[in-house]
Symmetry: C2
Subunit: 227 residues, 2 copies
């Protein structure tokens, strides 16, 4: 499903050049639930942004569903992304001008889903994540954990082929965090491939593979025995 080879990603500021991903290679198979761990600043969000086609890379190869992504135009990257990927951002990235319902509904609108079905799916995921009572609020009127759950709901409402989750429970108490992990597990059992950045070994226990990064390199990989 995803084959990455010798992928290099650098950032330059006036002062310094940072090698965020140091010619890494990685294979993700359909149906995987992969946890990505490592210290703050080691390249996890960068890896997710490159895989999620939100960011380009300098050199190397990234094949997504059989198609090479290097050199693909922004417009074509956006198309591949909208049709296949659900992204839960580390800083949520909610749209301030839209309320909770409209934020969650947006990917369904992009994918031309009919209004009646959009309503059913938005309501179902809002109830699942316990935020239906806030559906007319705007993001600035929500608690941190409520915003995070809206970001989760929006990424999952299209039941995408691949889910990229960047620290999806960072602002949640254990009950709400567990609910998010249960939902991700279910979607994985139903066929979604999941890559999840996390600092929590509890969250990582839901995965079948754990990849650990350090300074832009893959330090190690291991299989995880799920219950």
């Amino acid at each position: 499903m995803i084959t990455i080879q010798q992928l290099l990603k650098t950032y330059s500021t006036e002062e310094v050049e940072t090698t965020a991903l140091n010619q890494i290679s990685l294979q993700v198979n359909q149906g995987d639930f992969m946890a990505i761990m490592g210290p703050s600043g080691c390249g996890k969000s960068t890896l997710l942004n490159v895989i999620g086609l939100l960011d380009s890379f300098d050199s190397g190869s990234y094949q997504f569903l059989g198609q090479e992504m290097h050199g693909l135009k922004e417009k074509d990257r956006a198309q591949v992304r909208k049709e296949n990927i659900g992204f839960i951002f580390q800083n949520f990235n909610l749209i301030d001008e839209l309320n909770v319902y409209e934020n969650i509904e947006l990917p369904l609108v992009y994918n031309n889903i009919a209004k009646k079905e959009r309503k059913e799916r938005v309501i179902a995921v809002m109830e699942r994540l316990n935020i239906a009572h806030r559906n007319k609020h705007y993001p600035q009127q929500l608690s941190g954990g409520q915003q995070q759950r809206v970001a989760v709901a929006r990424a999952l409402v299209t039941t995408p082929k691949i889910i990229l989750a960047d620290e999806p429970t960072g602002n949640l108490d254990s009950t709400n965090g567990n609910e998010v992990m249960e939902l991700l597990s279910e979607l994985n059992h139903q066929g979604s491939t999941i890559l999840m950045v996390t600092h929590s070994s509890y969250d990582a226990s839901f995965s079948n593979r754990i990849v650990t990064l350090k300074d832009g390199n893959i330090l190690m990989e291991k299989e995880n025995q799920r219950q």
Copy 2:
């Protein structure tokens, strides 16, 4: 140091009125390190914002350092806040137009600290939190955990009388999170009073009191035996 009695705080949107703090009463003594816990949406950030004089409240009493805060003008609240309170925000609230060094330096500038001393203190806290190598970066050029550490550094650089920390380790791996907790502990031993919202029982173990909220009420309070 802080005496809160029958404090009521509500939010109104077009659709619904939310009682975020339901006539709560709370006493915080100088030198306390209080953990505030509870489910997502139960009122923790609201409590911190009211205590931190960032938000007004509807009724009840809030005495800070012997002075009643209810009805205080915005200008006077801001003055009390700048002189006494360091705030670590749940969503960081860094200033995009300033780099890391300038973001951390800002409270010292407001407090009229001389340039030479500002430099020493900013460098000391950046090295302590392992972000000195990013001092010329802008917030958008930082990882999530790096942004969080800049927010922590900025709140602590004035060694304030009272530190309000809203989930200060949510985006950090265990090593960096532990470093933040050690630094808060040290400041507490040196005399700072700390109120910390957290979802982590590990973080809460550094406190001497744990207050649990639920639906805008104080559910329970307990002493914590620190090692």
